[in-house]
Subunit: 246 residues, 2 copies
DNA sequence: GGCGGGTCTTGATCTCGATCAATGACCAGA
DNA sequence: TCTGGTCATTGATCGAGATCAAGACCCGCC
């Protein structure tokens, strides 16, 4: 039950050491960060922050998956961020949260008290430089996502989401021999719908359709098997070369 | 015909001096920037950059409006950025353009040669700090945009776009007496459709509907008159307080 | 002053995904 | 073992926006 074993003893042991906001830090900078940081764990489904909450910290996702969502007055919900290990939560200089943040799997965060973090942002350039890189990457991802939301069909949206999740946690992915790739969806059908701008029924139908057509196979509800990754890519509507950024 | 008169003589005269990437620069930093900069003008409709092009500069929009768009193989197009004066074009460290950039009005850009700009980014923290702020703002805007694309109705999308354009160039806006606000759309119906993830026919129909319902009035095709801004805001689907970021 | 092309509007019809509704699968707890 | 709850699937029908099509408006140009 206790997830404390997943919390790294030192930054050197940290699974996101080389990809998170601290990636460029020297050991003296890490020591300074160490003094203002603490770990926090959440269970799958638990709310981390509500939009409008006061936020006295910023954080990195150490393990697990969280989502950023916006909700309209009448309840319509859109996911606007999918946070995987090493991703950053919060905005320096902003005291109130702008989005709802929810853990969709069990999750560990490495939190930094906001004020001292902001001071370090000014004083130690490595953190600001890394945060700029990460923010530019997120902006690129947001722009791909906008193309998906505005112009892709439901089937293309599902195929795109599957390939995005596969790519983003490629390191954690289970490989079965040569070809087929296996991974677990960290999202419910409803969360997938909120990501894609669809209803959960349409998500379910399109997953069934992709299964019928042999593009994917299922093991239980959450485990996806992709026998041929190129076949999945063709269904995304992206360019053959992945439509990825040059 | 010659737009050269719109090019500022010195940075002190520059209309975007206090909002662009150079906003935090001291005079010595401005001098360094000055040595690597040049102005470039474009006519309405002209392509500035194609996705995949080599880009040996980054730039600020000085005056006019440009768009960032992505196009799928079959021609489906989605706008992913609307660049108004002071907005930044290009990504430090990236030699190839990721998006098509097009001038939708006559436009002046202040370009910086990329390599020396990247050097300054490392050496003078003010530029990197400002670029980080601007990028975080763009990311917030992209997330609002995702909510619009994924969950808003066609009518809400149009109302949202109108209020976004009004807000963003509020400074340039023509005020007629007290209440009614007047502004010119810097986009064709087709560009609006690409912004909103709609067809141009639907854009046209919804604009007509908002006109019929008295939410807006038209003067020609491009000039919009808003008799009551609150009425327009109600049509956007956003929270009463603008749904804006805390 | 009429012609041609770009831009915009409006109408008729179709279709994809939403909505409404029922059922199934799975699991934790009584 | 049964029960209630969450999550997912599938079917029937509806409707917002896409698509196809026809004109209107506007402006520069020969």
């Amino acid at each position: 039950m206790n997830e404390i074993s997943l919390i790294p003893d030192t930054c050197a042991d940290c699974p996101i050491r080389h990809r998170a906001v601290c990636a460029k830090c020297e050991s003296d900078e890490l020591e300074r960060l160490d003094a203002i940081k603490y770990y926090k764990s959440f269970k799958a489904g638990q709310a981390i922050i509500w939009s409008g909450d006061e936020m006295d910290f910023v954080a990195s996702v150490v393990s697990g998956v969280a989502t950023l969502t916006q909700t309209m007055e009448d309840g319509r919900t859109q996911m606007v961020g999918l946070l995987l290990p090493s991703d950053f939560i919060g905005r320096p200089g902003r005291p109130l949260a702008s989005y709802d943040v929810t853990a969709t799997t069990d999750l560990v965060m490495c939190c930094f008290r906001r004020k001292p973090f902001e001071d370090m942002l000014v004083e130690t350039p490595h953190i600001g430089q890394r945060l700029l890189e990460m923010t530019l990457d997120e902006l690129d991802a947001a722009r791909e996502w906008m193309l998906l939301l505005g112009r892709k069909t439901a089937r293309e949206k599902i195929a795109s989401l599957l390939s995005i999740i596969m790519r983003r946690d490629a390191s954690l992915m289970l490989k079965t021999g040569q070809g087929p790739l296996v991974f677990d969806l960290p999202l419910t059908r409803e969360a997938m719908a909120d990501y894609l701008g669809l209803t959960l029924e349409t998500v379910s139908r399109q997953i069934s359709a992709l299964r019928r057509d042999g593009v994917i196979a299922l093991e239980g509800k959450r485990r996806i098997i992709v026998p041929d990754f190129d076949l999945l890519l063709e269904e995304t509507g992206d360019d053959a070369d992945g439509g990825m950024l040059a």
